[in-house]
Assembly symmetry: C2
Homo-oligomer: 346 residues x 2
Amino acid sequence: MPMNPDGRRPTIASIAARAGVSIGAVSYALNGRPGVSPQTRRRIIDIANDLGWRPSVAARSMVGSRAHSVGLILARPADTLGAEPFFMRFIAGLERELSARRIALLLQIVEDHAAAIEAMRLWWAERRVDGMVVTDLWDRDERLAVIAELGLPAVAAGRVPGGDLPSVSTDDEAAVAAVVDYLVALGHRRIARVAGLPVLNHTRVRIAAFTGAMREHGLPARDILTTDYTWEEGARATRTLLSRRTRPTAIIFDNDLMAVAALNVAQEMGVAVPGELSIVAGDDSQLCALVHPALTALAWDIQAYGAHTARALLQRIDDGHAPSRREQPATLVVRGSTAAPVRVAG
Amino acid sequence: MPMNPDGRRPTIASIAARAGVSIGAVSYALNGRPGVSPQTRRRIIDIANDLGWRPSVAARSMVGSRAHSVGLILARPADTLGAEPFFMRFIAGLERELSARRIALLLQIVEDHAAAIEAMRLWWAERRVDGMVVTDLWDRDERLAVIAELGLPAVAAGRVPGGDLPSVSTDDEAAVAAVVDYLVALGHRRIARVAGLPVLNHTRVRIAAFTGAMREHGLPARDILTTDYTWEEGARATRTLLSRRTRPTAIIFDNDLMAVAALNVAQEMGVAVPGELSIVAGDDSQLCALVHPALTALAWDIQAYGAHTARALLQRIDDGHAPSRREQPATLVVRGSTAAPVRVAG
DNA sequence: GTTAAGCGCTCTTGCACCTCC
DNA sequence: AGGAGGTGCAAGAGCGCTTAA
């Protein structure tokens, strides 16, 4: 980028000087507004390109009271974040939409909701962001009150308990029903679910979806355990389920890591997969394809989820409101970990 | 946050009005500079806290020519990013250091270096960032020339080919040597390496470290294959190695996913792990502990790596230079995938 | 086309008032 | 008494841009 004689980055003043016009004319020309002749406009634009000029966001923020940035605060331990491919894909989806509109994404990783709230307040007071994406909603989420109090434009990725926040959410009912329907069609009757963090609203929604889908088949949904998404708790839950007198013939896990852990537990306990136990992973990743047998999994288009969330947030910021939206249901990728249950004598 | 009567966020003007002083006095009081009496200062600070006031970054940027933000641009496909726990941990480390100093992190995810360069130029021209963290350096990295051209303060996470950029890097020599030493001590002589992307400088450094460590034991380092870090290529490389007439008794992988893939290939080819083949994963994650046998792995303190990188960048921004720094070597976490090689007849 | 105000802040300059030899 | 030296604040310019006049 060519500098000004004094070594500073070019401004509209530099352009105005080179074009021999006022800075106002430069502003009009570069913003495509009337008030300058086509020739002058052309000349100004050429000079601006020549200098590699871009408007300073700080200056634009001052006058337009827009930060041209949105924020994302993740409130999870770093290890959990790393283990879940979800977040990076989601962020990539957000980014795709945001950077196309020259909106920056501010990312902060914190330990808990208290820290998240503090960060939100700070960003908003500093006028760092025009709005925020909220993920991992809790059943009773104290962040929501703060968002309301601040009047902070926000969109939730995931359903919102109260429902006052616009949200983009996955169709968990359809996804869970697809899995249950498929397993029942294979002949399974005792289907268990190993869910994620019980505080997440998300977990409750999926459990309800599971219970509902089972009921539609006239089946009870008794075997539901919650975990923290780690493989340890996935393994423990699997051991618990496989130790019951009447054990499930199929287990649906809320992520892939726990499903892989279950594969190991089954082997350790001498339970054949998929012969005696079918396993379904709640989301799909390289991992699922990698293990033996490869895991049947729910494949979500997470990048699209992120992109739609970004679009909703930008609409919320621009128009003051955004319609809540439901994503396309996940597709069930059937691999080797699911089959008809072997008929047990008795 | 209490609003002004007109519904706008408070500014120093609001504070000045309430305190009955000039805005200059408010600025001095809030910035801890001399020029106001202790009583007035106290009164102003109280009012500011009361209003929940924070300085607008845009305004501070304008006057101080500091964006109070730094950027990170990741140039990898979203799926790779998701599969590698590295990035989230690294970002968490960065964040820890940055948010403590009220510096925001701008994150952008792009497809390739051309897009990364475009994003860098834009951020710098828009005065969005004060500096950038550069990761995944290539052997010949075209981003470096642009950074130099722009005079953009930057710090590399990983060694820099030319060496003109300050860098924070891992001690790959020590880590690789530790693995080789251990395997040789177990009795291995034919040790192979399945490395990552050949374009990454990182990969070259580690290969050199491997070759060097082997040479110190008087062993040849012939079996070196490069991959794209996916499990597919990890599996393919493993098959290639295990199909050789004299096959390696140990393989060191550049990440965990490929090491897990190798475990499967070994099983598929009837090669016992660790009896006939020892496997070492290049980095440690939940995955390594999860599989059977659990994988011996190199554990890096990636959060510290991120934190140190952030600190170096901030020093680079403030002082104009930063000393390059090497991280503590990784620790070798020995699990079940490594053992003395069985003595083969002949 | 120009001029000028204004966004929220920092920082230099100026000034009134006080204190002290 | 008169000037030097502080203190405690106000005034105003300026950062880069937009926009009304």
